[in-house]
Symmetry: C2
Subunit: 331 residues, 2 copies
DNA sequence: CTTGGTATCGATACCGGTATCGGTAACAGA
DNA sequence: TCTGTTACCGATACCGGTATCGATACCAAG
């Protein structure tokens, strides 16, 4: 199409030195005189030389690539984790490569396999509920495996996140302490979003401890969304008007619930509770309860672990980094 | 850490054949007997063999990598584009690699350079306002360059998106036709988000054509968010109570505006207009106007172009794919 | 029995860099 | 003058695959 991609060999020839010397000069390695270095740099500039990381990585046996597998890109949660990873990797010379699993274990396995074949220096995956085969593959890769978001399970190497079970429990406790008594639940596709399921289970456990239970619930089968939350809330409110609190699978759904409560003029006697602590939640005209999950921070910590694993004198980092979500929005 | 990564050579040895034959067997290439193929496959299975794409790509001179550079991950727009790219690439054997530029041209240049050094088969970048140096680099890469989101400018190779100038113009025309007369504007960091600036410019042009102008405006200097939109709207409404319509840099900001209008009990006499057509916008308890941008579709089309560029018999695709955003929410 | 075609496989040369080690020149000290 | 360092540079062997071409075996046809 356009011009020709120049190689190190050509740069070396143009500078009148050997390939090896050119390589050293461009990398700023020692054993190169100033004069030679300048000659090479100029030649590289002139030829628009752009290194070839394939060759570099193959030769040096390190890719400085961090593979990242997340289940979805359709709500803001995982993109924020990715942003966190991106910041955390900044200045390290490492590159993140992302893959999406669509909450599908088979797809996840394939994505992970594809990523591993690039021989990344570390891999970050979401959750720790991978099937045995996937775990075997990950262990076999002989690189640090960083499992994020979830803490409820047995990690392979590193684990950064929070306990969704506990998050659900704490939210239930806080709501009960605030005097709520008649609970409903609204969620979507819990068979796929395992973490939402764990939150619900934790919530329900505490309800039972207090001789309570969900009076009514609605489960959607599509991806979570504000509209879905709103729609299901209207349904639930009309069939169970006595509810004074609804727990949602996440903040998107809860925001929809808040809108529904406004439309039904129920904002004063019912409280919606979600999960994530989205920016949106704080701006809503009606207060909703939520657990703030440190998404960006989880990404940053995961990135730091990936970087650390490259450092020769890796300080002994803790294998598990646990965050405790702060609950807000309960009057 | 764990086990040893096995190579093709080892698989070949274990199967009692040459490296070359093993390679052919694993790729399903011809010239391999069924019996030999099975032997190799079994050996590979036994050794947990995982191909090495670095070596593969270096040797075959094609990476099947699609580099993608987006400015941000902190609102849902670009993640949805990435999701679109991901779906569009599915089944093609191509892998997307993402980079974030943070709306910073210098950072964008660096990210692009880093990505190009992986020798991707195509590159997708956001917008067509790259500085000359970056354009030169992109052209020099000798791969198809796909510029997305924006149409207002001169593309390098391919262009998929919509005209933000026109989007602004059309929105203004629609709002004026609906009887709105006293306009305000609320945005944020327009020096960085060039497309939002173009929409504003288009909007303003039409206002002028109709002997109108923004009566008041507020510009934030942080990233756009619902809270920021709400905050600035409260400010603007109190200083310019006569407004009957506010144009926002995007839907996040406009949603914040909608919340502010509710809190100020102004929902009946003022209309908020945004851009993107977010899912959230449709669920809001108060209607806002918006232009629906086909984010997922843009990603899919871009991915298709990236795939097509690999096909030997590339059908002559149009260099420019233009979308016209549909305007909704105007009563 | 020779010839020719087909099926199957392997040897060798890359791809574009880096690691390693050895060589040369210049300069210091004995 | 001889020897030992140090600074600088290049030849060679990889890294782990694929492309290419040639070799071998087998079978049918002449």
């Amino acid at each position: 199409m356009h011009t020709h991609k120049s190689t190190l060999e050509e740069v070396a020839a143009a500078a009148g030195v050997s390939k090896m010397t050119a390589s050293r000069a461009l990398r700023g390695a020692p054993d190169v005189s100033i004069k030679t270095r300048d000659k090479v740099l100029q030649a590289a500039e002139r030829l628009n030389y752009l290194g070839n990381r394939l060759a570099l990585s193959l030769s040096s046996q390190r890719t400085d690539l961090v593979a990242v597998v997340v289940p979805s890109m359709s709500n803001i949660v995982f993109p924020e984790v990715l942003a966190g990873i991106s910041t955390g990797l900044e200045g390290s010379g490492m590159q993140a490569v992302f893959g999406i699993s669509d909450y599908d274990v088979t797809k996840e396995r394939n994505v992970i396999r594809d990523m591993l074949s690039w021989r990344p220096s570390a891999i970050i995956v979401t959750g720790l509920d991978q099937p045995d085969e996937t775990v075997r593959m990950l262990k076999n890769a002989a690189i640090p495996v960083i499992q994020i978001m979830d803490l409820d399970g047995t990690p392979i190497d590193f684990n950064v996140g929070l306990s969704h079970c506990k998050a659900g429990e704490e939210m239930a406790r806080a709501l009960i302490a605030a005097g709520r008594k008649r609970f409903g639940y609204i969620g979507s596709a819990l068979d796929r979003d395992l973490r939402a399921g764990k939150r619900k289970a934790g919530f329900e456990r505490v309800l039972h401890e207090n001789r309570l239970a969900f009076i009514g619930q609605r489960l959607g089968d599509t991806l979570s969304s504000v509209s879905l939350g709103k729609y299901l809330t209207h349904q639930l409110l009309s069939s169970e008007p006595s509810l004074d609190c609804i727990y949602y699978s996440n903040d998107d759904m809860a925001a929809g619930g808040a809108f529904a409560s406004m439309e039904a003029s129920r904002t004063d006697d019912i409280l919606m509770a979600g999960f994530n602590g989205l920016e949106l939640a704080a701006a809503l005209p009606v207060r909703i309860a939520t657990s703030r999950s440190p998404r960006h921070m989880i990404g940053e910590v995961a990135a730091r672990l990936a970087r650390g694993s490259m450092a020769p004198n890796a300080p002994s980092v803790s294998k598990i980094t646990a965050f405790v979500p702060e609950i807000t929005g309960i009057v």
